[in-house]
Amino acid sequence: MNRRARTAMFLAAAGVTGGFLVAAFTQLPPFGTKDHPYGTRAVAASLQHRTANAVSAVNFDQRALDTLGEEFILFGAVLGAVALLRRARDEDRAAPQPGGVLPSTRLFGACLLPVTVLVGAYVVAHGQLSPGGGFQGGVVLATALHLAYVAADYRVLRRVRPLAVFAALDAVGAGAYSLLGLAGLCASAAYLQNVLPLGTFNDLASGGLVPLLNAAVGVEVASGVIVLIAQFLDQAVDIASPHRPEGGPKAPDSTGEDGR
């Protein structure tokens, strides 16, 4: 199909879709309405379980089973990326060349790395109190380690990032979430039901199961993102350009055959 026909087809389909969307939008409750039946009930349920952050209460208490699924989507995606980006037989590893880094950049990275790790841990630990939680804090933690790559070089990153450990931690985080759900079954309640002591409202130890699930998610997201970025960095830095099939538009001299 040529480009013009394709664009025409898109415009026709977009017109129909847009028409239906506008028709649906006019039937929605008005923007900014005071009437939020689900929201009101979710807030009441979150306050009843002494969780100050209602969003965390929805994610890790009322909808904890959905978050379990979400966590395994993340786990599956990391697994898929590792499988797709593993080193092929015809690829060669090249030692990455260290680049020049300004001393001030190096100092900046060295000072900022521990601060960022601390912020990440804080965001994970206070998920039940303030905006944040396992997902957000986990990403901050993963970013922190990569300051070693930005401010120093790849070999430093490899030293602060034992990949096998983080790959195992990813599985441990995912497993811990599933196992924490069993606490509910042990107390003869439902799977992932919040049966732990609820603590004092607005205290670090409040919300029962919520901070524990947050910690499990934080470990999983942090190590998952680290493993994921490591796969892409390997492609960019570590693996020499692969052997291209014949007839490809850009076929460099094939040096990949001796890489087995």
Binding site: R6, L21, F31, H36, S46, V58, T67, E70, F232
Partner: protein, 114 residues
């Protein structure tokens, strides 16, 4: 115009799909998919907005303060996580396609390979 935020979400969706339809680069197409998906964030947050409401976090406000809907915010969080992981997976597929065929232009990928 009380449906303007919803219309914005619809426009973002169609803009993202337009990008995917006309894309000549798979990395660009993955980016457009992320744009199309982000329309759901705008729509969900628009649905959950309460006029005069604040963030649904009660650590420093009285518990009777009107807040916006926390349910849709939790849904947006799920949405972002799933979107990010799908983007990562698709980008690794693009890397494999580039390695195996030497191109990232979807129009050059016409034949099936065994």
């Amino acid at each position: 115009m009380s449906i303007l935020p919803f219309l914005a979400a619809g426009w973002i969706l169609l803009a993202g799909i337009y990008g995917m339809v006309t894309s000549r680069n798979l990395v660009h197409a993955v980016g457009c998919l992320a744009v199309a998906q982000s329309s759901t964030y705008v729509l969900l947050l628009g649905v959950g907005f309460r006029r005069g409401g604040t963030a649904p976090v009660f650590s420093d406000i009285p518990t009777r303060t009107p807040v916006v809907d926390p349910v849709v915010q939790a849904l947006v969080l799920t949405d972002i996580v799933v979107g990010t992981t799908v983007t990562a997976l698709l980008l690794s597929l693009v890397i494999q396609i580039r390695k195996r065929t030497g191109t990232v232009d979807p129009e050059d990928l016409t034949e099936l390979r065994g």
